[in-house]
């Protein structure tokens, strides 16, 4: 199973309030399904960050199929950086936050084709978004990712305590990824 590799990896706890350098054009995209507890953390994060948008930073819910996302990105003026935040279950402790710059490596064509098929049939996931947009186009050179290990992705509006208590840290990890 393909999973994205970091070009560099950090766990950010920055609380600086500085915005990004205004020379950068940055898109912050939250990914996830609503009402699936920690599976919705990406959407929670961008809802909190929405009020900080401006000065070159756009904050957006990108929880739609990645082919459409790729096509939308192709239509827009180039971004200097995209920051994606989502829950991804990779067997870590619930609430683990991993921030990295994606290295842009793609799986083989058969895997990409599978991901495109999933994308057009409604599957929304971080890995699909990286693979599909990486293959079809639209990404800038710099794609940063903030992953959160979910404790529960079951039906419900509330985050688990493990993720809820780290939400401020996740928000700041995302925000710090927008800075030069």
């Amino acid at each position: 199973m393909w999973s994205p590799a970091p070009a560099e990896s950090t766990t950010s706890t920055s609380t600086e309030e500085d915005g990004p350098d205004d020379r950068l054009r940055v898109l912050v995209g939250g990914l996830g399904y609503r009402n699936l507890r920690d599976g919705s953390v990406g959407i929670h994060v961008i809802e909190q960050l929405a009020e900080r948008s401006g000065n070159g930073v756009e904050v957006e819910d990108v929880s739609y199929h990645p082919v459409g996302f790729s096509q939308n990105l192709e239509d827009r003026p180039d971004y200097d950086r995209i920051v994606l935040v989502a829950a991804v279950a990779r067997g870590r402790s619930p609430g683990t936050v991993t921030a990295y710059r994606w290295d842009g490596q793609l799986p083989d064509n058969e895997e990409i084709q599978t991901r495109v098929s999933e994308a057009v049939t409604g599957v929304i996931s971080l890995d699909n978004t990286l693979v599909v947009c990486g293959a079809l186009g639209g990404f800038p050179d710099e794609v940063h990712v903030v992953e959160v290990e979910p404790g529960s992705e079951q039906w419900g509006e509330e985050l688990t305590p493990e993720v809820e208590e780290r939400l401020p840290e996740i928000v700041e990890a995302v925000w710090s990824s927008t800075r030069p």
Binding site: V67, G68, Q113, I124
Partner: protein, 637 residues
């Protein structure tokens, strides 16, 4: 005769009634099925041919929407499929979620049943609510709804033809599984080059190559064109925000219609190209080996509820359903063994039963005998209904170990007149082609044996196309050919509705919704509509302003269904069982299963996503992505 198996007859006025003297009219006996693996004698005989008998599991079946696993036992020497089991591996459960909710929630919650075509669920839900509330949209609201449906299909058809099913006909797939056919394809001229631009069949196959082929990339682009038009009315896709009981909640002006117009006409040219591509491709396969007609073959048993309402005729009532449904651009019909069994919506509705003998649910009917759950013995017009009808259905999940003899799927087994039916774009074409009372003749002309499609001029000249009802065989390749024609059929319906919308606009009839109040008394309703893949119904029972029961039957519930209590396979199972293994392989371990996959994918499987549900004493696993539970002999869900 409409019904052959259900104990229902019609009087001289055409009113349905139960046959007299049948003591327990809908009860049935469950026929035991014995899988090969559990039949010692058969297994021993097969094992004597050691090495050629193989269990081949497709788990998951890729390039389909959602979670489908398919179990087969094949004889690679005689090149036959010996046994098939279709398994929906995830529980959907929307029926359980919707109980006790405000009925208006159904529009938005049921939409989430599908990530490809959620909008059709929204509209089907709105139709069910309209019947229960006693309202209907003004003409422009119905036109807007018809446009949304058309645009959703114009997204869906290219997706199926070039991203999901199409790769099975692409150069890499054909080179790998039948290199001798690829050799011939490179030399075979393509007769429709003037339309699609490819000189040989080999060039078409190359253009269908995933990710890099021109036709693959163009299909991705055309799905975007359709989505762009869709969101002008729907607000977003695939889960529209503007579908409401009594119409839509967005205003539409002339610029919206013009924007949609610009995009619809692109499908006139694109549809011509796709038909030309598929005609050349499929005819080539038949010429190379006529046995390709047998791939995915099954009896022509099709069910079509009809869709695209007439803006003036639709009144939302069950009392008049047989009148307004016949005015649809796709009228209702049941086709049995290639012949029209009924064109009556009430007959279609009363003949539907859902069985759960091989599904992870509890029977709520005592094997058709009926019990306290048998609430509706008649529909609102007085026609008899069986205990297994959706209006009577109770969704009682019963997760347990998978066993091919017993229960092995989360799909129920819907049947019409106790016969397995398939449905899809082709059932729409077929129902229209045999309609002797068709009213939507501006661009579409049924002949009884075909459907003529008069395509206006785009970049390509105007031209008449004709989809002819297949009489030689009904199989996977003909499903795909019909799907290709459905792009033109759908674009013409969209264009027809656009012209009606412009006319309404000129008359000042731009109102798109009707005021309503949620009734607090007991009501029932039903939405009869369609998805890209075919038949879609929502049956609603409500009281005190909330939903008492809500039952969804999707196209893939019909087609992915497991065996029924009478021992008959579901459509996927039946079609794969009939499929000859034409793949070229020397050693059994080289076998890929391309013919089986072509058969399955021709139905465009869409296994609706599922949601986490707590039952009384256990948790049913949830997954909203395409995933695969293993198809071991036994496993817990």
């Amino acid at each position: 005769m409409c019904f052959k198996n259900l104990p229902v007859e019609f009087d001289e006025q055409g009113n349905a009634r139960l046959k007299e003297g049948v003591a327990d009219p809908f009860s049935y006996e469950v026929k035991e099925v014995t899988p090969i693996e559990q039949d010692d004698a058969k297994l021993k005989k097969l094992l004597e041919r050691n090495g050629h008998i193989r269990t081949v599991d497709f788990d998951p079946v890729t390039r389909v929407a959602g979670a489908l696993a398919f179990h087969t036992v094949v004889d690679l020497e005689s090149r036959q499929v010996l046994e098939t089991d279709s398994m929906a591996t995830l529980f959907r459960g929307y029926e359980v979620i919707l109980k006790g909710r405000d009925p208006r929630d159904a529009i938005f919650i049921s939409s989430r049943a599908c990530g490809v075509c959620g909008g059709v669920h929204s509209t089907t839900s709105a139709l069910a609510l309209e019947m229960a509330f006693g309202i209907h949209p003004p003409p422009m609201g119905t036109v807007a709804r018809n446009l949304l449906l058309s645009l959703e299909y114009l997204y869906d058809h290219p997706l199926h033809l070039f991203l999901l099913a199409g790769p099975d006909f692409s150069e890499p797939a054909v080179r790998e599984t039948n290199p001798e056919i690829w050799e011939q394809a490179q030399r075979a001229p393509a007769s429709e080059k003037d339309i699609h631009g490819y000189s040989t069949i080999g060039e078409i196959m190359t253009a269908m190559t995933p990710l890099s082929g021109e036709l693959y990339v163009e299909a991705l682009h055309m799905t975007r064109v359709a989505r762009e038009a869709y969101v002008l009315i729907g607000g977003k896709y695939p889960h529209p925000q503007t579908v409401v009981p009594g119409g839509i909640s967005a205003t539409i002006d002339i610029s919206d219609l013009n924007e949609i117009h610009l995009r619809i006409v692109k499908f006139f040219d694109y549809g011509q190209k796709v038909v030309a591509v598929y005609n050349n491709l499929l005819d080539f396969f038949y010429e190379v080996n006529p046995q390709y007609r047998e791939v995915g073959r099954r009896p022509a048993n099709l069910i079509e509820t009809g869709q695209w309402d007439d803006p003036e005729a639709y009144d939302g009532t069950f009392a008049n359903v047989d009148d307004w449904a016949r005015q649809r651009w796709a009228p209702p019909a049941v086709i049995r063994d290639g012949e029209l069994a009924t064109k009556s919506m009430t007959a279609l509705n009363m003949g539907v039963e859902e069985f759960v003998e091989h599904s992870f649910y509890e029977d709520w009917t005592d094997e058709g005998a009926g019990n306290e759950a048998y609430r509706f013995r008649e529909d609102p017009n007085g026609n008899p209904l069986p205990p297994n009808h959706p209006w009577n259905k109770e969704t009682i999940p019963k997760p347990q170990a998978t066993n091919w003899k017993d229960k092995y799927s989360w799909s129920t087994a819907p049947r019409w007149d106790r016969t397995a039916m398939e449905t899809g774009p082709y059932s729409r074409l077929w129902a229209a082609a045999v309609a002797d009372d068709y009213t939507k003749n501006r661009f579409i002309e049924p002949t009884g044996r075909s459907l003529k499609l008069n395509v206006p001029k785009g970049a390509l000249p105007a031209r008449e196309y004709e989809w002819v009802i297949p009489t030689e065989s009904w199989g996977a390749f003909e499903r795909n050919r019909a799907r290709a024609h459905s792009i033109l059929y759908t674009a013409l319906i969209a264009y027809d509705n656009l012209l009606i919308g412009l006319d309404l606009m000129r008359k000042g009839e731009s109102k798109v919704s009707t005021k309503y109040k949620v009734p607090k008394d007991f009501r029932v309703g039903a939405g009869f509509w369609g998805a890209g893949r075919g038949y879609l119904t929502h049956h609603l029972v409500m009281d005190k302003g909330v939903i008492e029961n809500y039952q969804i039957v999707t196209p893939s519930t019909w087609m992915a269904s497991p065996k029924d209590p009478f021992g008959n396979p579901g459509p996927y199972e039946e079609a794969v069982h009939a499929t000859p293994l034409l793949e070229n392989f020397e050693k059994p371990e080289d076998y890929k299963g391309i013919d089986i996959l072509r058969a399955i994918r021709s139905f465009d499987p869409c296994m609706p996503c599922t949601t986490h549900i707590h039952t009384e004493n256990r948790v049913i696993s949830r997954d909203v992505v395409t995933c695969a539970c293993g198809v071991d002999d036994e496993h817990e869900h």
